[in-house]
Symmetry: C3
Subunit: 232 residues, 3 copies
C-alpha cells in the first residue's frame, strides 16, 4: 500500500502505525499522521498538516432507502489546506474543502460538499452537514450541530452545543431544505436552538438557551423561548 | 483469527485491513467491512450489510460500583439484518437487534437490549440507551439522546439533538426508570427536551426547543418552556 | 514496541490486537486493554483497570493560531487509578488524573489538567474541558458538555445533555474564563443550560431544559427560561 506509486509523498512525513492509504492520495511536506488512520482514494493533504489517531479522511457518503438526500455519484476528493490540524476519532467526507489553518477537534465529523474557510475551528464532537459553507475565522465550539445548506459568514462565533435545523416540515415530503443563514460577526450562546431558514443579521447576539424562530436584525440581542429582543 | 472454523463467511465478503473477528461470528453474503473493526463473539451480520471503519460490533456492557443498572450476565449476540448500513467510529452492544435496512450514522452508539425496526435511521452521534424499542421507518436525527426504557412507535421523526430522560428523581434511589413513550407519527423539533415517563400522542408535533413536562394528546402542537398547546 | 524496556508491565495484563504503546508507559496488574488502542508516552494505568477498543490515552493538546488557550508545554502524563473503566472510541489527554473506580463511557473525551474524583462517571459522548475539577461520586450523564475551569463538588448529578459555558463575551478578547461552580449534591435536569461564572448552591435542583443565568441559592429549585425559583 505505502509503496503504491500513485501516492505522492512530501518530505519529512511522519506516519504512525497501521495506516491505510488508498490510491492517488497526495501528502504534502512536514505532515504528521497518527496510528489507525484510513485515508481514502485521492485525498489531498497540504503541507504542515497534522492528523490524529483513529481518523477517516475522504469517506464517500451512502444512504438508505428512506433518506431524502441522494449521495453524490462522483464527488471530488477531500482537500485539506496547509497547517490544518485534525483531532482523533474524526470522520471527514469526500467532496469537502478545509482551507489553511483550520482546526477540527476530536470526535468531530464533516460531511460532503462543505467548505470551511481559513483559520476556522470545528470543535470536538461538532458536526457539519452537507453543502454548508463556513467563512473565515469562524468558531464552532464543541458539540455544535451545524445542519446542511447553511451559510455562515466570517468571524461568526457559535458557543458549545448550538443546534440548528433545515427541515420545516420534519420529513413530511419533497421540498427544498434551507438551514439558517448567519451573517458576519454573529455570536450565539451555548445550547441555543435555530429554526430552519431564518437569517441572523450582522453582529447580532443570541443568548444561551434561546430559541430563534424568525429573522433577527443586525446588531440585535435576542434571548428566551421564543427569542425576543432586549436592549443592547 | 480469520481462519477460525467457528466463523461463518458468506459469499463475496469484502474485509478491510486489520479487522478483529471473534469466534462464532456469522457474516452473510455481499457484506462489506471497513478497516480497524472489532466484531465480538457471536455477532450476526445479514446479507448486503456494510460496516464502516473503526467500528465495534457486539460489545458487552460493563458497570462501575455506582451504576444502578447491572449488566446482563448472558446477553445474546448482536444481530444486524440485511441491507443494514453502519457508519464509522460506531459502537454497538450485544443483545440488540437492528432489523433490515436500518442505517446508523458515524460516531453513534446503541446499547444492549435495543430493538430497531425496519428502515429506521439512527443519526450520526446519536445514542440509544438499553432496553428501548424503536419502530419502523423512524428517523432519529443527528445528535439525539434516546434514553433507556423508551417506546418509540412507527414513523416517528426526531429532529437533531432531541434530549430525553428516564429518571424522575435524578439518581436518588431505587425505583423504576421510565423513558418517554412516543406514539406513531409524532414529530419532534430540534433540541427539544422530554421529561421522564411522559406520553406523546399520535401525530402530535413538538416545536424546536420545547420542554415537554407532561402527557401530550394526539395531534396536538406544543411549543415553549414549559411546553404549551398552540392551535394547529 | 511491546518489548521496549521502558514500559512497565504488571501481572496478568490482557492486550488486544494492534495496540501502540509508547515509551515509559506503566501498566498495573490485572489490566485489560482492547484492540486498536494508542497509549502515549508515560501514561500510568492502575491495577484492575480496563480500556475499550479504539482508544487514545495521554494525547498531548495542540492549538491553531486563533485559539485563546495555549497548550501546556510540559504537562505530566495521564494517570488512571485502579479499577477505572474506559469505554471504546474514547480520547483522554495528558496532564489529567482519573481517580480509582472512575467510569468513562464510549466516545467520551477528557482534556488536559482535569481531575476526576473517585467513583465518578463521565457518560458516553460526554466532554470535559481543560482545568476542570470533578469531585467524588459525581454522575455526568451521556452527552453532557462540561466546559473548562469548572468546579464540581462531590455527589453532583448532571442529567443527559447538560450544556455549560465559560466565556461571557463569546470570543471577544483577552479576559479570564470562568465556568460554573456546582456545589455538593446539586441535581441538574437533562438539556439544561448553564451560563458562565454562575454558582449553584448545595443541593439545589435545576429542572430539565432550564436556562440558568445567575447564582442559585442552596436547596432552591429553578425551572424555565430564564430560570426562576419554584417552591420545593
Amino acid at each position: 500500500m505505502h509503496n503504491d506509486p500513485t501516492i505522492q509523498w512530501g518530505n519529512n512525513v511522519v506516519v504512525g502505525e497501521h495506516v491505510v492509504i488508498e490510491s492517488n492520495v497526495q501528502i504534502g511536506n512536514e505532515v504528521t499522521i497518527g496510528s489507525f488512520v484510513v485515508i481514502k482514494e485521492g485525498t489531498v493533504i497540504g503541507d504542515h498538516t497534522s492528523i490524529g489517531d483513529l481518523v477517516v479522511l475522504g469517506k464517500a457518503p451512502s444512504a438508505n432507502k428512506k433518506m431524502a438526500r441522494k449521495p453524490g455519484i462522483a464527488l471530488p476528493p477531500l482537500v485539506l489546506g496547509s497547517g490544518v490540524k485534525i483531532g482523533s476519532n474524526v470522520v471527514l467526507y469526500r467532496g469537502s474543502i478545509l482551507e489553511d489553518d483550520v482546526l477540527v477537534g476530536d470526535l468531530a465529523s464533516i460531511r460532503e460538499q462543505v467548505h470551511i474557510g481559513e483559520a476556522s475551528i470545528v470543535g470536538r464532537n461538532a458536526i457539519v452537514e452537507p453543502k454548508t459553507t463556513v467563512g473565515k475565522r469562524v468558531t464552532i465550539q464543541t458539540g455544535c450541530y451545524i445542519t446542511s445548506d447553511m451559510i455562515i459568514e466570517d468571524e461568526v462565533f457559535f458557543g458549545p452545543c448550538v443546534s440548528t435545523s433545515n427541515d420545516k416540515y420534519m420529513g413530511m415530503g419533497n421540498y427544498p431544505h434551507q438551514g439558517p443563514i448567519i451573517r458576519r460577526g454573529v455570536k450565539i450562546g451555548n445550547n441555543a436552538t435555530l429554526l430552519p431558514g431564518i437569517t441572523i443579521g450582522e453582529e447580532a447576539i443570541i443568548g444561551a438557551g434561546a430559541v430563534i424562530t424568525k429573522d433577527i436584525p443586525a446588531k440585535a440581542i435576542y434571548v428566551g423561548n421564543p427569542g425576543r429582543a432586549i436592549s443592547r
